[in-house]
């Protein structure tokens, strides 16, 4: 308590030394403004945790209920691409941390470089995600749009069979440029029949949660790009320096949070099947 006091008191003493251009009227000092903004972002992240928490709860409940099917459904996801994205995202967190550091030591140009690198890594992540979702769509794994569990399982089996002996690199390249053999898509009757199958229903719940979770995560990244652009704009005008770099740090907190959400999503969604020892 007394610590808070002293802090506010010292903050108070700055008051008379004239105003920094970035100091809002209702704050006593830049320090107070900085602390308030950082705490504000932390509080926002707390609500975000609870927001995702609802999804994680739903995930947990259904994973316990439909253990086997969750494992099988998880096996439909591409661990290689998931790993790749995890690495990309962790790298982007590193560059974001470097951007904050550059702001603290007042190197404007570096801030811009690191923010640019972060944005590019983020875009890479979304690019990979795009190919994954596209593939999911092609093999009929998108609930409501075209979900057909039997068909998806068949395609997966075929693909595994085809690629069994290919080297890793060509497998990886194949995920992006690979051309899938054309199969007759399942007929409406087949899909209707498939939807009556409890296995398909349970796998579908997995995919509903998968798309909801990764979709909301991707939405957060897109919002992150907007924030990066705004901060980069202000940085280019030389707003930030050792005295005032609060927005960069706040942005950093946000970006790391989005990163951490993925760190939870990746094992829960991608590694679950392998972890439960399903294999094919």
């Amino acid at each position: 308590m007394s610590a808070t006091n002293t802090k506010s008191d010292t903050a108070q003493s700055h008051d008379n030394h004239g105003h920094h251009p970035s100091l809002a009227h209702h704050f006593v000092s830049l320090e107070q403004q900085h602390e308030a903004n950082i705490l504000g972002m932390w509080m926002f992240l707390v609500t975000e945790v609870l927001f995702f928490g609802g999804l994680f709860t739903a995930y947990t409940v259904y994973r316990l209920k439909f253990n086997t099917m969750f494992q099988e459904a998880s096996n439909q996801l591409d661990i290689t691409l998931g790993c790749l994205n995890t690495v990309v995202l962790i790298l982007s967190s590193l560059t974001m941390a470097m951007a904050v550091r550059s702001a603290q030591i007042g190197k404007t140009k570096q801030i811009l470089n690191y923010l640019g690198a972060t944005a590019i890594l983020g875009l890479m992540f979304l690019g990979v995600k795009y190919f994954e979702w596209k593939h999911d769509f092609e093999i009929h794994l998108v609930p409501k749009a075209n979900f057909c569990w039997d068909y998806a399982k068949e395609r997966r089996k075929e693909a595994d069979h085809h690629e069994k002996d290919k080297p890793f690199v060509s497998k990886l390249i194949g995920k992006f440029v690979g051309h899938h053999e054309e199969h007759a898509p399942p007929s409406a009757a087949e899909i209707a029949k498939d939807h009556k199958n409890p296995e398909s229903q349970q796998a579908r719940i997995f995919f509903v949660l998968y798309f909801a979770m990764t979709g909301i995560h991707a939405l957060h990244m897109i919002i992150g790009f907007g924030l990066i652009a705004a901060v980069a704009y202000w940085a280019s005008r030389g707003t930030y320096g050792p005295e005032y770099y609060t927005p960069v740090e706040v942005l950093g907190l946000y970006w790391h949070f989005v990163d951490i959400v993925w760190i939870f999503l990746f094992p829960l969604l991608y590694l679950l099947g392998a972890h439960l020892g399903a294999g094919h």
Binding site: M1, S8, Q32, A212
Partner: protein, 559 residues
């Protein structure tokens, strides 16, 4: 310390001389007068008033639906409304009253206006977010109004699946979107308050020197931050389910409808404390000022607010005792529910002890406080029937529950809100209202309320289910009594709607500190306050409720 005390006295005197000057001082109401200066204001006081206008309209709307419901229930047969219209009415009543009136009532109006002043700062930490929260609230209101205009929603405010996700007709998606959006308004307000309290306190304003209203707002804000996002994602999932039909909550497709109830009540039970905790905070201010005595057990009352907020998060499953919950879970949730009763009881006893050997004034805010204690006590005590497993099975989803939560959320919360509005009205508007009318209104509300809702306890024990449009004939006498009471209650609630606006234009000028209170908004701010609240660092005392230092001349009005 004594020097500061002297200082405080001087300020008080300055105020009384100030009153004599003919030219009105610049204050937050008159320093800018364009419409844009109101609609785009970043001033927490003006935003509070914007909210006051918003929630007042919503209260009238929600009240109109309540009137329809009570009129329909005059007779056992459904002769006024069809079943469908009745269902849409109680849904609209619940959604409007809870999301558009009760949740923002005290936090967004009185909290916004007072919290920064009470801790001695110029504004909340994020004034832009504060304004945004108002417009998000308004946008949510528009969605809900749209849902009503398009023909209404008949799911009940609880949106239980699979009724809401699969079976209900009506505009569930629009209403759900509205609730989702309003949630963010609530989150923004809570976030702002938490940061403001943590980081913006005046020098010397330690945690245990804050007024108890601020403590209550702190506890409320924590619930808003932690609970609201869960209901947001839950409502979003219902939206997915309804739009896509993918089976998250639909048992025919493998989903679990009970999961929805868990997620929903994880927020919606704490939401009850969003409504009542601020009222408890107001009550602490009222009892102290009008007994001219520091609140008995200040620390315990402050901590009990936090305790209620924390316990509030671990009791949600008591809404589901009949849903096939495991027996151990039921016992655990029963115990936890009782645990909320203890801090609530402590508060009531502490308020009584505050009055003991005090100097009790019977000014109108104190009359509202008396009404508050009466209704809150009955509401709280009847909660015990519902936390006791043996009786809850019989009472679950009957009118007993309806009566119980109206005593808390309407009786307690709105009495507290009314008390707060009457207490701070002179500060907010700079005018005094008609004391006699205010006291009559308080009495009408108290009497009308009890006539409306007390019979419902009997109806509930007789087994009359909630949300019934028609009911067996033997229950009519009590229902008629309830409807008659509701009309008295309506008059009680509408009276302030006349004399308060009247006083705003024609009322007697309010002095700086009419009640002789000790918190900063009374001792350091004019009535109404200047645009930036303070032009100097407000002095902070060891004890927030220290009446010995108060300048007695300043306390001119007393009844």
């Amino acid at each position: 310390m004594s020097a500061i005390n002297l200082d405080r006295r001087v300020v008080g005197e300055a105020a009384s001389t100030h009153e004599a000057t003919p030219k009105p001082a610049t204050n937050y109401l008159n320093h800018e007068t364009t419409i844009a200066s109101w609609l785009l204001t970043l001033d927490h006081k003006r935003i509070g008033l914007l909210y006051l206008v918003g929630i007042s309209l919503m209260f009238v709307l929600g009240g109109a639906f309540a009137g329809l419901i009570r009129l329909e229930l005059m007779t056992p047969k459904g002769d006024l409304l069809t079943g469908d219209v009745y269902n849409k009415s109680f849904t609209a009543h619940g959604v409007v009253m809870i999301f558009l009136f009760l949740i923002p009532s005290i936090p967004a109006v009185l909290g916004n206006f007072l919290l920064p002043i009470m801790i001695g700062t110029k504004d909340v930490a994020f004034p832009r977010l504060n304004l945004l929260s108002f417009y998000v609230y308004a946008a949510g209101g528009v969605f809900l109004a749209l849902a009503l205009l398009l023909g209404g929603v008949d799911t009940g405010w609880t949106f239980y699946t699979p009724l809401s996700s699969t079976y209900a007709n009506g505009n569930v998606m629009v209403a759900a979107l509205g609730v989702f959006v309003i949630g963010f308004s609530s989150i923004l307000t809570g976030l702002n308050f938490v940061v403001t309290i943590h980081r913006m306190r005046a020098p010397g304003m330690t945690w245990f020197r804050m007024p108890l209203f601020v403590w209550a707002m702190y506890a409320t804000s924590l619930i808003q931050i932690l609970g609201t996002p869960v209901v947001a994602i839950t409502i979003a999932l219902v939206g997915f389910e309804r739009f896509l039909g993918v089976g998250i909550f639909d048992p025919r497709l493998g989903g679990d409808p009970i999961l929805f109830q868990h997620l929903f009540w994880f927020y919606s039970h704490p939401a009850v404390y969003i409504m009542i905790l601020p009222s408890l905070g107001v009550a602490s201010e009222l009892v102290s000022t009008f007994s001219r005595k520091g609140v008995f057990g200040y620390h315990i009352i402050a901590c009990s607010s936090i305790a209620i907020a924390i316990f509030g998060f671990v009791v949600w499953a008591h809404h589901m005792f009949t849903s096939g919950l495991s027996q151990y879970a039921a016992m655990v949730f029963s115990v936890l529910t009782f645990s909320v009763a203890i801090p609530s009881g402590i508060k009531v006893f502490s308020w009584l002890a505050t009055m003991y050997k005090g100097s009790v004034s019977l000014a109108s805010p104190m009359i509202f406080f008396f009404g508050f204690i009466g209704l809150f006590t009955i509401g709280g005590m009847t909660g015990l029937f519902l936390s006791t497993l043996g009786t809850d099975i019989h009472l679950h989803d009957t009118y007993f529950v309806v009566a119980h939560f109206h005593y808390i959320m309407v009786g307690g919360a709105i009495m507290g809100f009314m008390g707060g509005i009457h207490y701070w009205w002179p500060k907010i508007t700079g005018r005094m209202y008609n004391e006699t009318l205010a006291k009559i209104s308080a009495a009408l509300i108290f009497v009308g309320f009890n006539f409306t809702f007390f019979p419902q306890f009997f109806l509930g024990y007789m087994g009359m289910p909630r949300r019934y449009h028609e009911y067996p004939e033997e229950l009519q006498v009590l229902n008629v009594l309830s409807t008659v009471g509701a009309s008295v209650l309506a008059i009680g609630y509408l009276t302030p709607g006349i004399y308060l606006p009247f006083s705003f234009f024609f009322g007697k000028k309010a002095p700086k500190n009419p009640w002789g209170a000790t918190t900063l908004e009374w001792t350091e701010c004019e009535s109404p306050p200047s645009p930036h609240n303070f032009d100097h660092n407000p002095p902070v005392y060891d004890h927030v409720y220290d009446y010995s230092t108060l300048n007695k001349e300043a306390a001119v009005v007393s009844h």
